[in-house]
Amino acid sequence: MSTNYAVEASGLVKRYGSTTALAGIDLEVPTGTVIAVLGPNGAGKTTGVRILTTLTDADEGQATVAGFDVRTQGNEVRRRIGLAAQDATVDPLLTGRENLVMLGELHQMRRSEAATRAAQLLGEFDLNEAADRRTSGYSGGMRRRLDLAATLVSRPDVLFLDEPTTGLDPRGRSELWTVIDTLVGHGTTVVLTTQYLEEAERLADDIVVIDHGRIIARGDARKLKREVGGDQVQVVVVEPGHLPEATRLVAEITGVEPKVDPNARSVTAATSQGVETLVLAAKAFTEAQIAVDDMSLRQPTLDEVFLTLTGSTTDDDTPQEA
């Protein structure tokens, strides 16, 4: 590839009538990495993917994918990308095999090559048995697998997955994650949108949080967590009667007023000292002879990060994404 970035976008704006779906998005995705675009429904994730996959034109700004301009070199872009849209888009009247062969042919393969490729993908995605049945009879998980296989027919350089695990069971989800790991291991760049914070953390080298068409935070999971507030030390005591004493000790060590949860018998406080705090706490509680159930240093969850950044996790007042 002619550039170190598989995706480069600057100032992308897209309006639908009076609503602004994207309000100026900049994005750089280094080749061979995974970027997760995280945001609630209606944040603009799908609109962004549609622009980068040449399905719609941005009103302002520009973008290149695999080194080609999405507006002026659409076909060059389309030759190098794979797209799994939000709803599985395999053809319900065709069999799994027919779907893959057709896509191979439309990726300009000869029919025999497309057939070989289809057979190979059907095997690897565990769809051999269902290969010659119409996909209308497939289970949700099977359809998802076929959809992913379909995006790989052309061996794309850049793969766009729009909420790929929505509606998958935990096993399907972890399977998909493994596939993405393998693809990235072979140099594929993946742009992934998700509402699942856990998924972004598990897969992505870089996370972009968007809301109302704007990027409100970006960085890896650690960085995002730090931005919201550092580590927290949490001590769970065995006897509820020890809570006041425990609160005093934790306050002494961290220098801040701890949060006490009587039901969980826990005392929690933010700290900037990391593991050192934990060592001090362990020593203090041993000397005070307070029995402890659990003592841990934890980072805020991405859910907490998201809540802090957007003020809400279920922000549905924006229009439906097209």
């Binding site: 639908y16 996959t53 040449t54 399905l55 719609t56 034109d57 076909n75 389309r78 030759r79 190098r80 990308i81 797209l83 849209a85 709803d87 888009t89 053809d91 319900p92 009247l93 065709l94 027919e98 057709m102 896509l103 042919e105 439309l106 990726h107 300009q108 393969m109 190979q120 993908l121 690897e124 995605f125 565990d126 119409r134 697998r145 790989l152 052309s154 061996r155 350089d157 399977e175 493994t178 596939v179 393998t182 693809l183 072979h186 140099g187 594929t188 097209a322």
Partner: protein, 283 residues
Amino acid sequence: MAAITLENETIAHDGPRPARGMFHDTWVVARRGLVHMKRQPEALADATIQPIMFVLLFAYVFGGAISVPAGGNYREFLMGGIFAQTIVFTAFGVAMSLAYDRKNQAVDRFRALPIARGAVLGGHAVANLIKAVLPIVLMSLCGLLIGWRIRDGLVSALLGYLLLFAFAFAMIWVGILLGSLVATPEAVQGIGFAVIFPITFMASTFVPTETMPGFLKTIAEWNPVTTLSNAARELFGNPSTVAGPDAPWSIAHPIEYSIIWTIAIVAVCAPLAVRTYQRSVAK
């Protein structure tokens, strides 16, 4: 159940392939359209059972009460009309397949592929032209069984079939326009029954225009479905409408008038349909 296992060979990037051209891409999409037809019994019934049913209904149920002013056998008169009606309904099939594609998100899948411009519409058009052959063949056979004959020689009859398919080609653009304007297959069906169906009846399709009341008669005489029916009758050597000295030009020259309509529909609808389609998919 085994998990997904990707082999190195599956993933290895080997670069995009050279484009194989508009015809290749169009044919791949057309083949898909033909498989769709085969697997949608209701769509296939529209193209097979329905026209045959019309032939039998009008030949045996209504036919006895309808007389042909020009003289001759009503069943022979009927066939030209049924051919024309079936050809006009081609628009329906195209509009339905476009609406289904939109409903199933197939449109976006195609648009994210490196295919030639126009291959998707072209594929639909080719598939529906091929689809138009089936009912015409079936009805010709059915007509032969009930006494319809080609009476004006093979060359003339071939011209008749050619004119019908040319009109089918024109109707495909009407279908693309319709399919791009409305959102759902149900809406296509609604418009089809509210608009296209009556148009095919306000014509000489099943009954001669001579007996219609004045206002309706004028509409029917200028309705291209009338002239297409009459042109087919003329080219197959079947009884048709008698063009009296005061008959309008359309009735006196059904073949020419049908050709003009075919060209006009293509000239107006094709560019409009392509633009409307492109706007409807690039949201």
